[in-house]
């Protein structure tokens, strides 16, 4: 028995894959999205890094080597992609803010400042001026969030601790959905006398409607409130993922979640279908075109075995920077380990170089030369290449 035939099947459910799928679904194409689990974006801060550092990210993009995926995707894909992203998130009730040409600061859980491009509106008020006094609220028992790191790093700041009755970030975030809990939190905060200008909380202000929670607290306290991203599991990352996934479902995209691709069906230079390791019997998902967005080593798109680095779904050839001994710096924290350059080399149409597969496109951090850690360009690169690959794919199908 044959299955549904899709115009495009996207393999990989992270920011890049969903962006590509959304772009195509908005063009009226029938799209399936396959993911073997929740993507690594659930572990991210939820912020969209375009390029690291203060100032204009485009300036730094201009300094990238010609082989970098940003250069391949072109300025239009990035700009259109970010505008598209802002619109989608607005529609999903999780608005983002930020300037495309000027990075903005957020405060990290260790009290340092990081510069990023787009931030969820719950982090909008983290642009703290030097003269401002900050009050940090933490929660009893919460892991990996030490308010004294923040108060040591930020002058004129203090902290207090609220007992939420549960200590996991997911647990606390769920409590904030409850009106009664929110009310108790606000009245406790009002009782802790503090003359500060802004209030910071770890990013746990609810899962579904954090903007409402933040605004309620902010209004009651009469001063700006903002979230500080936490170590994984990250609630803003989870919200980002759920919003993107919801947007795709609302636009008619079909999800196949939880099972990886177990085999592929290929006819000459075209991929015809992939099969999923579903319960009982492999499910076949066929499409006219395919997009690979499975990410790099962390998300399992690439696997470094003893003998070679493999691409795990289609078995594409992988570019690797030299011998294994050349992959790493002597020091772990030195930025720019050579292995970060590993990935799939693509042609100008974002198809695997060599021309052996005509209906497969590749996007996201699995692309060779991305160096996502060094450039801190994770979600930005995912969005730009997702849009670029989707456009090429749509053109190929037309």
């Amino acid at each position: 028995m044959s299955a549904y035939e899709y115009d495009v099947v996207v393999v990989g459910g992270g920011v890049s894959g969903i962006t590509a799928a959304l772009t195509l679904a908005e063009k009226g194409l029938k799209v399936a999205l396959i993911s073997k689990g929740d993507p690594v974006c659930c572990l991210s801060t939820g912020c969209v890094d375009v390029m690291t550092g203060e100032g204009d990210p485009w300036q730094k993009i201009g300094e990238l080597p010609a082989g970098h995926p940003y250069v391949k995707a072109g300025d239009d894909a990035l700009r259109d992609g970010l505008v598209f992203f802002l619109r989608i998130m607005e529609e999903q009730g999780l608005p983002y803010v930020g300037s495309l040409t000027e990075n903005r600061p957020i405060i990290t859980p260790i009290g340092t400042v990081k510069h990023t491009c787009l931030v969820p509106v719950t982090m909008a008020a983290s642009d703290l001026a030097k003269s401002e006094r900050l009050h940090v609220v933490s929660f009893k028992g919460i892991k990996d969030f030490y308010p004294s790191y923040l108060t040591n790093g930020i002058s004129r700041s203090s902290f207090s601790v609220f007992d939420a009755g549960i200590s996991t970030t997911l647990g606390i975030a769920s409590r904030f959905e409850d009106e009664g809990f929110l009310g108790r939190f606000i009245s406790w905060l009002q009782d802790t006398e503090n003359p500060h200008d802004r209030i910071a909380v770890p990013a746990v202000l609810g899962l579904r409607d954090p903007v409402k929670v933040m605004e309620r607290i902010s209004k009651a306290m009469g001063r700006p409130v903002f979230e500080i991203p936490t170590l994984p599991p990250s609630i803003p990352g989870l919200r980002l993922f759920r919003a993107l996934k919801g947007a795709l479902q609302a636009k008619g995209g079909h999800l196949y979640w939880g099972k990886g691709v177990s085999s592929i069906e290929r006819q000459g230079s075209e991929i015809e279908a992939v099969t999923l390791a579903t319960a009982g019997r492999a499910a076949r998902v066929q499409g006219r075109a395919f997009i690979l967005a499975t990410g790099s080593f962390v998300s399992g798109g690439l696997y470094a075995g003893r003998d070679a680095v493999r691409e795990t779904v289609f078995g594409l050839p992988v570019f690797v920077p030299g011998e294994r001994r050349e992959w790493f710096h002597a020091q772990f924290f030195t930025p720019g380990h050579a292995i970060e350059k590993a990935g799939i080399v693509v042609d100008d149409c974002f198809r695997p170089a060599g021309g052996k597969l005509k209906n497969l496109y590749v996007c996201g951090s699995i692309l060779a030369e991305s160096e996502v850690m060094k450039n801190q360009c994770g979600h930005g690169l995912a969005i730009a290449t997702g849009v670029a690959a989707a456009r090429m794919c749509a053109r190929g199908l037309a």
């Binding site: 549904y4 689990g37 549960i166 200590s167 647990g171 999800l255 990886g260 319960a279 009982g280």
Partner: protein, 382 residues
């Protein structure tokens, strides 16, 4: 579960983390492992293919085998017999279950009374006709209805049977017993394995005759397709699993490959489609939604981020009452936020729980499809 119940340390700690300490053969002490409801959301979420829920399930079974099980566990492991008894004396069971005296007694025995107990029906599916549809119909299906449709909602079971035969299937109702999931969930692997062997024998004989096995209850489906060949390793289980389909998966595939032409009429409905956890766990996507897309006028929204919290018998135990209610509230609020006028879900337990927490009518996806075929119900399938 762990997001509302701090006593449960979460799937990672309860599963792979704690497993390292369980390998030494000592008697198990982690009673909290039973707080896992086996929603299997952890398994769907894990991108590295770790069978988190299965690790926990095995630990639960070990714990149960080494400790005396509470009365409720024995009761729910045998829901099949409960159903037989309840439906045979349906009139008395239902009347009794709603009295405050009985409710008090149930609470004493460790049962939750947050939800009204499901009512039993006398005219169960296995008391009704066993075959429907033309003998020479091109599509032959054996309907595994499971306990809920049989004992509690035979009317819905008959609707699904009639929908299938209306669409041109030859439907048989094979002799069947409980799928065994309640027994697994309540720590009784022997009962589960016995049920599995009985079902595989009967269903396997229909598969040999060219029938496809269809299920509507997604938890039964997951047990048939996954647990029979894997966890329970029943001989012949693989053959049954390979030929087992979700009702809507089967119909959607038939529509897509052109073997089934359905003329969907317009409906005026706005439905929140709550995806049962076990449908997610099957990994087959959301087949009913693929059919919903073809129904003119049907407005629907897929909700797959929240577990309803009832998880079969889990929420009917008093010790899980609060956890279940908190999760039910979260999932219910998500449904109400869509502004839908009804909710749909494939799972009987999800529907009971969410109808309670939203006050909305709870439909089976098949009922939505039937609604769109309603204008010409008398028209015989050509």
């Amino acid at each position: 579960m762990f997001k509302v119940n701090p006593d449960f340390p979460g799937p990672k700690q309860a599963g792979p983390d704690a497993q390292r300490f369980r390998l030494d053969g000592e008697r198990s002490v982690d009673e909290w492992v039973k707080l896992c409801s086996q929603c299997k959301r952890c398994e769907v979420a894990c991108p590295y293919g770790v069978n988190v829920a299965e690790i926990i399930l095995r630990a639960q079974l070990t714990y149960s085998s080494e400790h005396l099980s509470p009365f409720t566990a024995h009761l729910f492991a045998n829901t099949h017999y409960l159903g037989k008894l309840g439906s045979t004396a349906a009139y008395f069971t239902n009347a009794l279950a709603s009295t405050s005296l009985v409710k008090g007694a149930l609470r004493l025995l460790g049962l939750s009374t947050t939800l009204p107990l499901p009512e039993y029906r006398f005219l169960t599916l296995n008391r009704g006709r066993k075959r429907k549809g033309r003998f020479r119909a091109p599509m032959k299906v054996a309907f595994f209805h499971g306990c809920y449709l049989n004992y509690n909602r035979p009317d819905l079971g008959r609707k699904i049977r009639d929908l299938l035969s209306y669409l041109g299937c030859r439907v048989v109702m094979p002799r069947q017993t409980c799928c065994g999931l309640p027994a697994l969930g309540n720590g009784d692997v022997d009962i589960a394995a016995r049920f599995a062997r009985e079902n595989v024998k009967e269903l396997g004989s229909w598969v040999d005759k060219g029938y496809k096995v269809l299920y509507a209850c997604t938890s039964c489906g997951l047990t048939l397709a996954h647990d029979y060949p894997e966890l329970l390793g029943v001989p012949g289980g693989r053959k049954v699993a390979e030929n087992t389909y979700n009702v809507h998966e089967f119909l959607s595939n038939a529509i897509e490959d052109g073997s089934l032409a359905v003329d969907f009429g317009p409906v005026d409905m706005h439905v929140a489609y709550h995806i049962p956890c076990h449908l997610r766990a099957l990994g087959i996507g959301y087949p009913a939604a693929r059919i919903f897309e073809k129904i003119p006028g049907l407005k629907f929204r897929i909700l797959d981020d929240d577990c309803c919290g009832l998880s079969g018998s889990y929420g009917f135990k008093k010790k899980n009452e609060k956890t279940s209610a908190l999760l039910g509230q979260i999932a219910g609020d998500a449904i109400l936020a869509t502004g839908a006028r009804a909710l749909a879900s494939d799972c009987g337990a999800c529907k009971m729980q969410l109808a309670h927490f939203t006050g909305l009518p709870a439909l089976d996806p098949a009922e939505v499809i039937i609604e769109s075929l309603r204008p010409a119900p008398a028209k015989k399938h050509a």
